[in-house]
């Protein structure tokens, strides 16, 4: 998990412009924003609702704002950020589609990462055991998981197409064998984490 995280953070970093304005939705302990502040000199803000994570951000000197993403981003103006990021949180939202709309309204560009539910480990788990997958990446039971809207790489791209969202770039991450060898050939089956760079279609 940790290694995957490092890879997805470094991919995100490459898509961020120096000294740009960044909003990180569900910023956790502020690791990504701290990285972007140090390496890209961004003016970054994170939104978070977990009390301990908020304190961690404050310790790191990361701008953090206590705000529930499910209540929307109506307090931010259109295009008020260069990039709006959401890592591994889309599947927790009540309405991921509306969150995406809001991200693209507030940000000129967006970066979204999520766990790919169509990874073959999850598929096999469900087929062979007949139970909701509990994997290294998705460690929760069905009844206590915060992940209420799982999607696959394919699902996400269908949604982008329907919403006329432009996919500027896509990277997929997988660390296990053989997934890391096959992830780019068949991302829907082998990607563990998908990372998208999006913008409004003009």
């Amino acid at each position: 998990m940790n290694d995957t995280l490092r890879i997805d953070l470094s991919i995100i970093q490459n898509w961020i412009t120096e000294k740009s304005r960044v909003l990180d939705l569900g910023c956790g302990d502020g690791t990504l924003l701290r990285l972007l502040m140090d390496n890209k000199k961004v003016l970054g803000y994170g939104l978070e609702i977990d009390a301990d994570e908020i304190t961690q951000c404050i310790r790191k000197g990361v701008n953090v704002v206590e705000q529930d993403l499910n209540t929307g981003l109506s307090n931010f103006k259109d295009n008020s950020f260069d990039t709006v990021i959401m890592t591994q949180a889309l599947q927790i939202m009540h309405r991921p589609d509306l969150v995406l709309d809001e991200m693209l309204r507030v940000g000129k560009e967006c970066i979204v990462t999520f766990p790919n539910f169509a990874n073959w480990h999850a598929r096999l788990y469900l087929i062979l055991r007949g139970r909701m997958p509990v994997t290294k990446q998705l460690t929760y039971q069905w009844y206590d998981t915060p992940n209420i809207h799982f999607c696959t790489v394919k699902d996400f791209e269908v949604l982008c197409h329907e919403k006329n969202i432009y996919i500027m770039d896509r990277k997929v991450v997988a660390q296990r064998f053989p997934d890391h060898l096959l992830k780019d050939l068949a991302p829907n089956s082998f990607a563990e984490t998908a990372i998208y760079h999006l913008s409004k279609n003009h």
Binding site: R21, L43, Y45, A51, I54, T55, C57, I58, R59, G61, N63, V64, V65, E66, Q67, N75, F76, K77, S80
Partner: protein
Amino acid sequence: MPKTFPDNSVGLVVPQLMQFSEPLMLACGRELNNYQLAYETYGQLNANRSNAVLICHALSSNHHAAGYHEGDEKPGWWDACIGPGKPIDTQRFFVVCANNIGGCHGSTGPSSINPATGKPWGPDFPPLRARDWVHAQARLGDKLGIHQWAAIVGGSLGGMQAMRWSLEYPEKLRHCVVIASAMKLTAQNIAFNEIARNAIRSDPDFHQGNYAEYNTIPKRGLTLARMIGHVTYLSDDLMGRKFGRELRSGNFQQGSYNPVEFEVESYLHYQGDKFSEVFDANTYILITRILDYFDLAREYDDDPVKAFSQALCQFLVISFTTDWRFAPERSREITDALIAAGKDVCYAEIDAPQGHDAFLLPIERYLSLFAAYMQRVADEVSI
């Protein structure tokens, strides 16, 4: 006074006085000559004078923010947050808190003698604005040799002063901590203040504010003003939990001949009485007016983003869920404006049942978050 002070107390403190002979030009256009400020300090100013923290007090408090005065049973009003190992750690910071001008605890105010008449100012004391306080505090800072405050911190009306500081003297503070505050009062808030003022004015002992000449004080009016205030500083929920519907005497069938029947009444009377003995009525009217008139962005085309664009410091904004006098929404407005202005800001909404009073209380999450922020400030300014 406790025989021994707790380890995390600043201990015995002695208030100090600073005299100012240079006239202070006030927002109203009048000048205040020869005024004095009562203040306290805790901790040590470091060699490069970079570790000073200014505490701005709210409506009813004063310079006695922490520790104990000789003979006192209870510590200063913000002892929960100031002391060794506390969020504003006096082992790392040099903390200054001054009674504002217009106050009634040692600084020049309505109960001081007006040099022009030889009598107390009373109701003739010039009307003040928060910026007047800020300018007076800035002069105190100059006299104490503080070129830049590591942080300026305030709750409620204190938060308003801290924000005003960030616009009036942007380069003189590194951090601004705004707790349970607002960029301006709502109409409902002004309404509560006016009820309190009217309570004071309708006391026959008020004598249009000239009660000193009649050798009396409008005790009933002040008591009532404070009672109204207290209801609004607490939440419905907390009052329910704290007092419920418990009777102090008598029973539900017949009531009681005792004028104080419910526990909550007893609490309000106690708070009101206590307050009326230590607070000046003219000061109460003067300061509630400062609250009412405070409007951070008024001179910036009513645009908070334009206002905060002046600021150079970083901000911490904190609100409390059940505070309905300075509701979390007001703090979110501050935060949103700061973000839009491109300023560094952290915002937390503390889940607490205590209403507006929460900012004075040792609430675990509040203290740890506040401490985390202040530790960063301390690390930044320590050599």
